[in-house]
Symmetry: C2
Subunit: 307 residues, 2 copies
C-alpha cells in the first residue's frame, strides 16, 4: 500500500512550489458581488467563485471557502460550494473549508467523515477544515483521527482575529489566558503525526490581529501550521506577520479574503475583473514575501491592497 502523503507535507510542498504561504479566502458575500453577474444568487456565486479560482490559480497554493456564504443560499448554495471545491482541486489548489464545526461523539465523527474523508462519498470533502473547540477535546478528537487517517488536516480555533475573541479566549485561568491553556492541552495531538517538514495534521487558527499571542503560541505549538486570517480588510498588517512563522519562515498560512476577491470595494480597483483579483492576489503575495525575505523584489506598481 502506498503511503498517503500527509496534509502538512502536501501543504509544505505546495507553499514551496508557489513560493508563498498566501491563501485567498473565497467569501462570496452577496452584497459585494460584481454587478455584471446575472442570474439567481446561487448562479452569481457560482460564476464568481469559478472566476476567482481561475484568477488566482498559480499565484497562491491554497484557497479557503467560507461555508457560511454558501449555506446562506440553502441547498443551491451548497451545490455551488461542491462545484467550487471540485474546480479548485482540479486547478491544483489545496482547499480549506472554513466552517468552524464542532460537536461531540458520533456527531463529530459524521462531520469529520463528510469533510475530511475523501472516500466517504461526500461531495463536500476538502483538504482541511476549521474546527471550533468550545465543547472540549473529545469534540476535536474525531476530527484529528479522521484527518490523520486520510492525509487531510484541521485548523482548531485557538485565538481568533475579532475583538470579541477576548470574551472567552482571553479569560484568565490561573493568570494565563484560556487560549494558552487550551493550546497546551491541544499540543499532544499537534506533535503526533509530524511529517518530513516538521508539521502535523493539527493546525491552529491564530488571528493576524494578535502578533504577541502568536509569538507565544508559535513556541507552544511548534508543529502546528497556523492559519492566519485578519490580514487586509480586518485590519492586520503584513509587517505584523513574522511572529506567526518559525525561524525558517515556515509554519503559517496568511489568508486574505475581501481585499483580494472584492478589489472594487476593498483595494482601490475601479471595477471588478479577474485581472483586478489576480493583481490584488499578487500584491498580497509580494507584501508577504517582503516581510518573510526582508527584500523588496519587483512588485506591481500600486498602493497596498492588503490594508
Amino acid at each position: 500500500v502506498e503511503k498517503l502523503a500527509s496534509f502538512a507535507d502536501r501543504l509544505g510542498a505546495s507553499i514551496e512550489k508557489h513560493d508563498t504561504p498566501c491563501v485567498v479566502g473565497i467569501d462570496p458575500d452577496l452584497r459585494y458581488l460584481p454587478e455584471e453577474h446575472d442570474g439567481s444568487p446561487a448562479d452569481k456565486v457560482r460564476r464568481f467563485c469559478l472566476d476567482v479560482i481561475e484568477a488566482v490559480a498559480g499565484i497562491v497554493p491554497v484557497v479557503k471557502f467560507q461555508s457560511a456564504y454558501f449555506e446562506r443560499l440553502g441547498v443551491a448554495g451548497l451545490r455551488v460550494l461542491s462545484e467550487a471545491i471540485a474546480a479548485a482541486r482540479s486547478s491544483g489548489f489545496i482547499v480549506i473549508l472554513d466552517a468552524k464545526r464542532g460537536d461531540i461523539g458520533n456527531t463529530a465523527i459524521a462531520y469529520a467523515d463528510g469533510y475530511l474523508n475523501p472516500n466517504s462519498g461526500s461531495d463536500l470533502a476538502v483538504d482541511a477544515l476549521t474546527v471550533s473547540p468550545y465543547l472540549g477535546l473529545d469534540s476535536i478528537e474525531p476530527f484529528v483521527t479522521t484527518a490523520e487517517a486520510n492525509g487531510t488536516g484541521i485548523f482548531v480555533c485557538v485565538k481568533t482575529s475579532n475583538a470579541g475573541s477576548a470574551d472567552i479566549q482571553d479569560q484568565s485561568v490561573n493568570g494565563r489566558p484560556l487560549y494558552d491553556v487550551f493550546a497546551e492541552a491541544l499540543r499532544p495531538w499537534t506533535t503526533r503525526s509530524v511529517g518530513a517538514n516538521g508539521y502535523g495534521a493539527v493546525g491552529a487558527v491564530v488571528g493576524g490581529t494578535f502578533p504577541k499571542a502568536a509569538s507565544e503560541l508559535r513556541s507552544k505549538l511548534a508543529s502546528s501550521y497556523f492559519l492566519v486570517p485578519g490580514i487586509g480588510a480586518q485590519g492586520a498588517s503584513p509587517k505584523d506577520l513574522l511572529p506567526y512563522f518559525d525561524r525558517r519562515g515556515r509554519g503559517a498560512l496568511v489568508s486574505a479574503s475581501r481585499s483580494v476577491i472584492f478589489p472594487q470595494h476593498f483595494a482601490g480597483a475601479t471595477t471588478w475583473s479577474r485581472d483586478a483579483v489576480a493583481f490584488a492576489a499578487r500584491c498580497m503575495v509580494e507584501e508577504v514575501r517582503e516581510v518573510l525575505h526582508g527584500s523588496s523584489g519587483p512588485r506591481p506598481n500600486r498602493p497596498s491592497t492588503t490594508r
Copy 2:
C-alpha cells in the same frame, strides 16, 4: 402590520398544547438506520426522517435535526435535510437545527440569514439554531438580532453534556467556571426580547448530565429556554431534570435522539418500526410528565426507554 409571534411564545404555546416539553432529536446515523430501507444513503435518510416525523407527530411539539448527519452525505444529504425541515414544519413541528454555528461579523450575518430568516430565500431556514460561542459575544450578536427580527430563536452552547465540556467550559476564572462567567455576559441579550410567557429569543444548551450546573444557570438565565440534550443514550436520567425547569415547570426542552429514533438499538424494541418510534416517544413524554407533575398517570406498559 401584524406583530410577529416571538419564538419563545410560539414554543411555549406548542409545549402547552402538546402538554410536554419533549424534543425528538433526529440524528440519522447511517450505522443505526433500519436495514429494510433501500436505496442510496441519502434515500435511506430521507425515508427514515419522513417516517420518524410521521411517527412522532402529535406526540412532541419540537423536532431537532442534527446537521452533521446530513452534511456527512454532502449536497444530497443537505437536500434531504431541506425536505425533512419542510415535512416537519408542515406537520406542525417547531424545528430546531442543531448545527452549532459560530463565526464573526459578516460571516455570522450570513449564517443567521440562511438559518433564521424565513424570507432569506434559503430552503434550510428553521425556527431555531444552536450556536457555539468560542469566538465571543460579537460572534453571537448577529444571530440574536436576526432571530429577534424574524420570530426565530437560538440556543447558545453554555454547558454541554459531554465529559470533555470540562476542558474549556469548566476552566476556573476567578474561582468560577467559565460557563458561568459566560452565562452572565450573555444575560443582557436573554432578557431583551422577553415575550408574554417570560422567555426570550436567546436560549441556552445545558447538558442533561449536569443538574447542579443547571440549577445555578436556571437562576442566572431566568428568561432563557434551556435545550437539554443528554437524556437517554447519553446517560442522563429524567429524574435529574427538575433543576432545568422554572418553578412553574416551564423553561426547558428535554431532547432525546437515539433512544427514540433507534429503539431497536437503544430502547429494547426487537425491530425498527414507526410504531416502535412512536412508543419510545410516548414513553419519554410520560417519564418527563411524571417528573414535572410528580404523578404517574396511565403509561405504556414497558420498561423505561430513556435509559
